[in-house]
Amino acid sequence: MHIPDGFIDIPTSAAFAAIAAGAIAVSIKGAKSSLDDKTAPLAGLTATFIFAVQMLNFPVAAGTSGHLLGAALATVLVGPYAATLAISIVLLLQSLLFADGGLSALGLNIFNMSIIGVWVSFAIFHLFKRILPKTKISLIAAAGIAALISVPAAAAGFVVQYAIGATAPFSVTSVLAAMVGTHILIGIGEALITIFAVGAILASRSDLVYGYRSQRLSLEVRTAE
């Protein structure tokens, strides 16, 4: 999914880099208002977690394996702002240190994975949380649907970039079909893992789930004598 150098032309890459920079600036503001001076350590450790989890390969079919993207998972766990920051940093360091994704394509990759991936997850998660009854099960389901859709959505982001600035000769519609088609399959895996993971975290530390925190209606207030 990481776009390398040379795939999309320079003006398109630059335009998306500008969009990415803007979105990061907004996310910094948003994260600081919710996490305060905890932003750096918590988003930093979340980025570490995403990075580690992306190394966790799972078998898909016929000897191939995939790995988690983690956009929906991060969004549900730490909220969209911190998730955007964490995933952007993961992409930045992957391109700088591991040559995974081109540096000139960084803006494109950030746009697809940390902006579309996170904010589509957030929108869908919220929508379904609102529609479904207010239980832990529906929260988990909402997270799963968000994960399922976030992956092909990120792939569709690539198709848009391709349509604008591709240096390859496929027709846009065939690329769209191929990318979105395969990524729906990957999205199913992403959804299953997100469902199990969110479920397990809700069972042991529900207070760490960002999407659950806003769900609690009111707390009993007591005073110590």
């Binding site: 069972a203 042991s204 530390r205």
Partner: protein, 248 residues
């Protein structure tokens, strides 16, 4: 008592892919039912040795046998049998406990060995009873105290009915009472035990015999009391009894 030793290691040598050699010909035989402390300074190769016992590290040179069967990391089916026979309790219980509830965690090993249904349930309850944690079966491990998690970690491998139980620093981070409770559990178990530890008093309390692994070879193998009373031997391998401790 069975006459086949639980563990036989012959001339085991091992180097990491980066060329760093960790084991230089280890020889060690442990009979069924023995409790042996594996002592040694940091970096002596203790963990490397332990990870050979169940084939996580492939044997490069030499031989490791569990209850007479050679550990061969290439034979996947045989390896599964070996891993059922060697139960390793790791130092940090959080590395070992990852399922949503205690019961599911205990069931993980036996399930991988093919147990299902009623039998699986029975094995889980039995293991939890052995460590006195049955009432916590449906709790998430995260909410237990450190000492309780250590006990659950022991139960996760007891549930596999191991031939040999390997414990890595079992007393680390335990408060004094949990430390004693764990000692009582260990003493109640009828299984061969290898205990990797820096806690020499604990080794003395629980193990008749101790071996010192230093620089990738076994440099001492004797009754624990003899080893702990040899100050010169201890000092030359960065071991020492804690201040105020006396061998009575």
């Amino acid at each position: 008592m069975n006459h086949v030793p639980s563990l036989q290691i012959k001339d085991l040598a091992f180097a990491y892919p980066d060329g760093n050699q960790a084991l230089f010909g280890v020889n060690l035989t442990i009979n069924k039912g023995e409790r042996v402390a594996l002592l040694g300074p940091n970096g002596a190769g203790k963990t490397t040795l332990v990870l050979h016992m169940n084939g996580i590290h492939p044997t490069m040179q030499g031989e490791v046998r569990i209850a007479g069967v050679v550990v061969d990391s290439k034979n996947k089916d045989a390896l599964k049998q070996i891993r059922a026979k060697v139960g390793i309790v790791f130092q940090d219980p959080d590395d070992q406990l990852f399922m949503p509830t205690v019961g599911e965690d205990i069931a993980f090993g036996p399930y991988n060995m093919g147990l299902r249904g009623e039998e699986l349930n029975r094995v889980v309850d039995e293991a939890l009873t052995q460590v006195g944690m049955l009432e916590y079966k449906d709790r998430p491990p995260h909410h237990l105290s450190f000492g309780q998690r250590r006990r659950v970690a022991v139960a996760t491998v007891l549930a596999m009915k191991p031939e040999i139980l390997v414990m890595d620093e079992p007393s680390s981070n335990l408060d004094p009472a949990s430390r004693r409770e764990l000692a009582e559990i260990v003493q109640s178990l009828d299984v061969t035990i290898v205990m990797v530890t820096h806690d020499l008093p604990y080794a003395l309390e629980l193990c008749e015999r101790s071996v010192i692994l230093s620089g990738g070879v076994i440099v001492a193998d004797a009754p624990t009391r003899d080893i702990l009373s040899n100050n010169q031997l201890l000092a030359s391998h960065r071991l020492e009894l804690p201040f105020g401790f006396s061998l009575r």
